[in-house]
């Protein structure tokens, strides 16, 4: 067993194991820190920055920072809430996200966060970037307009030899997600499903299947994103 440590998030006493990432330990303590790129037990990318918190006054990403004994974490402060809302708004203007026509609507983490932070009109000018749709694989669509560069697929979808199906291409303003046409031609149904499931938005979609759950009954249609983590706290009555 690793060393137990104590720390606070917005004044609330929390406990956890030293060295684990703050975002996971916070969740176990019933504190929701929003994420888009993080996936538990996968090497973090630290790329979406939506989990930005302040630890002892310094801005850090909660998904890449291990908890330390006695640290004071700020999470739901107005300053951080505004930063997170700004990141959500920024993602809506830099890509092309049309929720009503998106297959992932209701299951989309970005949309969920848009509701959580009550985004109305983004403060930033729309970029109207032209991006491609890659339909070359018989199993999946890669809808680049919706990609938020979280790298989940880059990190998690590999073949048995460790080769990547997905990778970044270019850098800076020319950055895009790309799919390996050669190996994606033979991707298994399971892996295609996994790729779609881990995508926080609707950028990766499985071909030739309908969507079983109707809009209105999907993941975030009736409960806000993060409620599962915060409800854990309520059902436990705050007990550990």
């Amino acid at each position: 067993m690793s060393e137990k440590i104590k720390f606070t998030i917005d004044g609330k006493q929390c406990e956890g194991e030293k060295g684990r990432y703050l975002v996971d330990v916070a969740a176990e303590n019933g504190v929701y820190i929003p994420v888009l790129c993080h996936w538990k037990d996968v090497i973090p990318a630290g790329s979406c920055r939506i989990c930005t918190v302040k630890i002892n006054g310094r801005f850090v990403a909660a998904c890449t920072t291990p908890v330390e004994d006695g640290c004071n974490v700020e999470n739901n402060t107005p300053e951080l809430q505004d930063i997170r809302k700004a990141i959500v708004e920024m993602l809506f203007v830099e890509g092309n996200h049309f929720c009503p026509s998106c297959e992932k609507s209701g299951d989309c983490d970005l949309q969920g966060l848009g509701y959580l932070y009550q985004m109305m009109v983004p403060r930033f000018p729309y970029a109207f970037e032209r991006r491609e749709l890659d339909a070359s694989s018989p199993k999946i669509f890669l809808e680049k307009n919706r990609c938020i560069f979280c790298k989940r697929c880059v990190r998690m979808i590999k073949d048995e030899k460790g080769k990547s199906y997905f990778a970044f291409k270019g850098r800076g303003k020319d950055l895009e997600i790309s799919m390996d046409k050669t190996i994606a031609a033979n991707i298994s149904d399971e892996l295609a499903q996994k790729a779609m499931d881990i995508c926080p938005v609707g950028a990766i979609l499985k071909k030739e299947v309908g969507f079983a759950t109707p809009i209105g009954q999907r993941k975030y249609d009736n409960v806000p994103i993060g409620a599962d983590i915060e409800n854990l706290q309520k059902t436990n009555g705050g007990k550990k």
Binding site: F59, T64, L91, F124, D159, F168, K169, G170, G172, D180
Partner: protein, 597 residues
């Protein structure tokens, strides 16, 4: 073709860690890395094609289509523009009949831009097939293009060589050192091997203590105490590595170019001393691609030092083994960040890593690694030679020793100056012969734009820290257009994109500056730019995103009147332009747009 590709892959031991080297060799051989070549490399290295392509597409000097037989890369940094780049562009385009970004139909000449190539003291400058051409003007462009048309080798177009080792048979470059002031540390007297011999008798811990006691702080810009870094690394278990960061990409800095040319032994000696101090056997010099013209020379210096038993096995008979290899970059500013530099050296995209772990814990191939700047290693040599007390007599209390400044822009004597920390901007401007100064850009685009009212501030880590880039901006310049917009376009290109905040906000902010320059901005845009820049600074992982809003924030703080003069006195305007939005459909139906206000 396949034979050649396989040969190149074989030459690098079929190792994915050497992917950047493999791609560099392919680019050199075929003037491109074609999709076909990518596929062969992928299959030979056991990678997927996108794995290879993600590295390839990260770096500026890899192309999918062949570049011209003469590939012109003209620097478009702010100082190049200030020194007459527009004329050079115009002449090249007129004579070649193509625009920048294009290639002549016969495939002879391609014209492209590139970010600062470390020649700000002799702009406008360009790389042509990695040969450096400086001080370009219309006449020189005419000569160069004529020589290209005659099919002359690029090397033969350089007829006059620069001073010092620029005239060395392995360099033969027109680059001038422009050493205007030699101080006692990096550019003073130097005898190769003395400090290394001393280190080996001192013992490794004593070396670290000496460097710590001298309070030597990293010269790349961040100012982290070098001795402390060495100590942390020495305490970690594993095969330790010493990296020298010769990727000076901050626009306006060129002092490492001069050290690489004139103090290569000293830099290598500093690396060996660090290797001894931390217990490393291997050192890597990460050399930016723009300095490829120095590679043969630098390889030769390594060979000489091996012959002198200052590198290699059993150095100076003390049982210490240490050797150095050169790793080339391929054109990416962000690789100057130490963990990005390590990623790049491992054949990957140069994306900065998350910390912890720090490079001193898990760096190159997950081994404990120190990364220090060229100047830091050179300074360490003198500290060991003359002692920490000697070193600390120079500079200020918090910033000991000397600093190399690369000074360029609107001044009479651009060049490299070795000065003690603590010099004021006033003193610096007198030293370089600068008059009618509007502003000084301290430490490059990621630094601070300092107005005349603050010229009494000191160049020191505790006041105005600097990695070395100092750009003097005269009163005749349009500060927002010539400087701020240029810098933001630079960051927009150079953000690795790994943090989406850095990728997107640099794009958004560049467009906002463009809006101001074009007179389309309104008052609230100014506060927005400031606020949005702060969000990027607070949420980005590495120094790039944390500082890339500085061109805006520091000019808004110090030169707000320049912005206010260009914005409309309105509180709201629609970003939506109806005429523009319907232009395409109007054209299709052949009808002029009728917009009701």
């Amino acid at each position: 073709m396949n034979e050649k590709i396989l040969g190149i892959i074989e030459a690098y031991g079929r190792s994915p860690y050497r992917l950047v080297d493999i791609l560099l060799s392919l680019q050199k051989e075929f003037r491109c890395v074609s999709d076909e070549a990518v596929n062969i490399v992928a299959s030979e290295l056991g990678l997927s094609e996108v794995d290879v392509r993600q590295t390839k597409s990260f770096y500026h000097f890899f192309t999918t289509e062949p570049v011209g037989k003469y590939a012109v890369y003209l620097n478009n940094s702010a100082v190049s523009e200030m020194m007459g780049m527009a004329d050079v562009v115009d002449e090249f385009e007129k004579l070649c009949g193509i625009s920048f970004g294009q290639k002549t139909a016969d495939g002879l000449i391609s014209l492209d831009h590139t970010a600062c190539i470390g020649m700000n003291d002799q702009e406008p400058a360009a790389l042509i097939n990695s040969v450096v051409f400086t001080g370009l003007n219309r006449q020189k462009v005419r000569e160069i293009v004529a020589a290209m048309r005659e099919g002359k080798p690029v090397e033969s177009m350089v007829t006059e060589y620069g001073d010092g080792n620029n005239a060395h048979p392995l360099v033969l470059s027109m680059v001038k050192n422009n050493i205007r002031k030699a101080g006692p540390v990096c550019l003073g007297e130097y005898e190769t091997g003395k400090a290394l011999a001393r280190s080996l008798t001192m013992g490794s811990k004593a070396v670290i203590d000496e460097v710590k006691s001298a309070n030597l702080r990293g010269r790349g810009g961040a100012g982290f105490p070098a001795g402390l870094k060495w100590q942390f690394c020495a305490h970690e278990a594993g095969d330790r590595y010493v990296f020298c960061n010769a990727d000076e990409g901050e626009p306006g800095t060129f002092k490492d170019r001069v050290l690489l040319t004139e103090r290569a032994q000293m830099m290598y000696e500093g690396m060996a001393i660090a290797g001894w101090a931390i217990g490393a056997k291997e050192g890597i010099l990460y050399l930016r691609y723009e300095y490829l013209y120095l590679k043969a020379f630098l390889e030769n210096v390594l060979e000489e030092m091996r012959n002198q038993n200052l590198l290699g096995k059993n150095i100076l008979g003390k049982g210490f083994d240490f050797d150095i290899r050169i790793q080339l970059g391929a054109g990416a500013y962000v690789c100057g960040e130490e963990s990005a530099l390590i990623e790049s050296s491992e054949g990957k995209r140069g994306e900065p890593r998350n910390r912890p772990p720090f490079p001193v814990q898990k760096g190159y191939k997950n081994n404990p690694t120190i990364v220090n700047n060229v100047e830091t290693f050179c300074s360490a040599v003198k500290i060991i030679e003359n002692g920490a007390a000697w070193y600390k007599k120079m500079g200020t209390e918090d910033s000991s020793g000397t600093k190399l400044l690369s000074i360029s822009g609107d001044c009479k004597m651009p060049g490299v100056y070795e000065v003690e920390w603590g010099m004021t901007i006033h003193e610096m401007l007198r030293m370089v012969g600068a008059e009618n100064v509007q502003a000084v850009q301290v430490s490059g685009p990621s630094g601070v734009c300092v107005p005349p009212t603050q010229f009494n501030r000191q160049i020191a880590l505790e006041d105005l820290p600097s990695g070395g880039s100092m750009i003097v901006v005269g009163k005749q310049r349009d500060l927002i257009k010539d400087i701020v917009l240029n810098f933001m376009a630079f960051f927009e290109d150079e953000s690795c994109g790994s943090c989406i905040t850095c990728r997107s906000f640099n794009m958004i902010l560049r467009r906002q500056v463009q809006k101001v320059v074009e007179g389309r901005a309104i008052k609230p845009d100014l506060d927005n730019m400031k606020d949005w820049g702060e969000i990027m600074a607070k949420t980005s992982r590495c120094g790039l995103g944390q500082t890339s809003s500085n061109p805006i924030s520091t000019t808004l703080a110090n030169f707000r009147e320049l912005y206010e003069a260009r914005v409309k006195d309105e509180d709201f305007q629609s970003d939506f332009d109806m005429e523009k939005a319907i232009a395409e459909s109007c054209e299709a139906v052949n009808r002029p747009p009728i917009v009701h206000e």
